[in-house]
Symmetry: C2
Subunit: 339 residues, 2 copies
């Protein structure tokens, strides 16, 4: 079923059918319009978007880019609930606006440019910040609107939706301080991550504001993973530095810390209060349930998608494309007061 078939059955030209489909109603008499619509209905015609893309130079496709791990190709970014939640929300929003979503993990820079040129994608969203340096170089050659998250890239017009990472750790550290904790561990290796560095600054800011000294030995520089947290938790227990609280940069890390500290003989939260980061669903299923910092992931995804759509349609955004979203603490059971 093609435009031509419909045109023949309706006894009009392809042009007219095309106009009807595209709602250019001013150019078609109501009578022909109705007749054409009836026939389209009857035969269940839908236009071939490949052909349309070819002429229009727009594709109605938005590319969702995730970084494939270069080191371990068996890992799977989609198992990260943060990423998959984002994808779900973005997909729905794009679909409701008439766009199709192509999802692709990318290893080399050419994987990306290929996608762009191959399909004339109308916009792209980078779901994780791993390819920022590559993006920095490519930016000038990408002609479609681009959205990223949590980036420190300073590219003119780049849609960049961040969350207030510094405030996040400021809040969790302050939460501990307000409850009488003064020997507070910071668990994460921030090396090379802009996001984590910001969180570390939030930790230091909270200490400073409260007149507490920063102690390098309270920094447990392990990766923000379950395994990293596990090691940190064990070490906190064995170090015997009098630490009563630990702030982390990921729920998964916090869960590791709880388990590690437990293996070292600590009771959680009696002997060690722990706060996570991300407010993942699984924090509700741990024992104790995890107190954590919430990023409002849906808002983050929607903000970026809306800005991207606006830019695709109008060529620009009516509000600044760099937005920093607020964070908040979600109180559950893993952090308690010493009073």
């Amino acid at each position: 079923m093609t435009l031509k078939d419909i045109a023949e059955k309706a006894g009009v030209s392809m042009m007219t059918v095309s106009n009807v489909i595209n709602g250019k109603t001013g150019r078609v008499s109501p009578k022909t319009r109705d007749k054409v619509n009836r026939i389209i209905q009857e035969y269940g015609y839908t236009p071939n978007l490949n052909a349309r893309s070819l002429t229009n130079k727009v594709s109605n496709i938005v590319g969702l880019i995730i970084s494939a791990y270069e080191t371990n190709k068996d890992e799977n970014y989609l198992e990260n609930p943060y990423i998959s939640t984002m994808i779900g929300i973005i997909e729905r929003e794009l679909r409701q606006n008439g766009y199709y979503v192509m999802i692709r993990s990318v290893i080399k820079g050419t994987d990306l440019t290929e996608l762009l040129q191959n399909w004339n994608v109308d916009g792209i969203i980078f779901l994780d910040p791993a390819h920022q340096t590559a993006l920095g170089k490519l930016a000038s050659s990408i002609s479609c609107p681009v959205a990223v998250f949590d980036s420190n890239l300073e590219i003119d017009g780049l849609i960049n939706v961040c969350s207030n990472d510094r405030k996040g750790l400021y809040l969790s550290t302050k939460y501990m301080i307000n409850r009488g904790h003064s020997r507070i561990a910071f668990v994460a290796d921030c090396e090379g991550s802009h996001v984590l560095e910001q969180r570390f600054l939030g930790y230091r800011q909270a200490l400073e504001e409260s007149g507490l000294p920063f102690k390098p030995e309270f920094v447990y520089a392990y990766p923000p993973s379950y395994e990293g947290g596990l090691e940190a938790g064990k070490k906190i227990a064995s170090d015997c530095l009098g630490i009563t609280a630990a702030v982390t940069t990921a729920d998964i890390s916090a869960i590791g810390v709880m388990e590690g500290a437990r293996l070292g003989g600590y009771r959680i939260p009696i002997d060690l209060s722990v706060i996570g980061y991300d407010n993942l669903q699984l924090g509700q299923y741990t024992l104790p349930k995890l107190t954590t910092i919430s990023q409002n992931i849906p808002q983050k995804a929607l903000t970026a998608t809306s800005l991207l759509l606006e830019k695709i349609r109008t060529g620009t955004t009516s509000t600044p494309p760099h937005v920093v979203l607020d964070v908040e603490i979600v109180e559950r059971q893993s952090a308690i007061s010493l009073f």
Copy 2:
């Protein structure tokens, strides 16, 4: 940069460039081939796949379909770790085979046919079984290969990768029986779900084999969600039927059961042993760590993808398209022996 541009720069016809790109080397002299390749490299040319799809009638796109919840459009299937893990694995496999992945949630049947016709997708994969009845009707009108999971649809040539659900619950129930449990609750409302009915049959089979009576009051027909499990757990505790073990059909449900029973005064696993289903990552983070049935999700995803690719390329599959994968029990801490 188009074929034409490259052809001009190389001083040959578009045809020749096309042949070089498509590796029809027999038709091009090595010298021209090298020259053309050099120019392609130099200008970073990649073919426009919209145009290619238009002529070839194949698109190199595979559609990944997830059902949007009709009842609650704010829910998000991608938050289901089973689904997102599948997507991650499928995406990688397809990409490595030169395919692009279009992901789309679907509410009405037309959402689907639209996708197919719009983009000439080469194949589609239904990630969840929710649209089986719709698929049953559509099947005859879909011309490309289709893969589904855990379906009871009997459609000729349909790629259908299942896991042995019956065996799954047989294993978990047997596990309990072998450890001295005789009053074993089954937690799930199987109504309308082929998969859950199979699991229920596995439960009954294990009881029967061991000469244990099936008691309807041991069936806690709650949805296989955290909330459902929570209710079931509370009710198990308050019913005082002497139940010492509960088998479930989802990890998330098992976690709810543990929490609910705990709220009812039970200690887990001392007073109640619990076994999950799915082997989700989060089962490693609960307390006690969850004993569960593992589906080998990567294998499931890869099997379906490989069969689909084979069918796209050759028009058929060399092995039967209906495969049932084995399941196994993963022992952790949530189920103990009464001896």
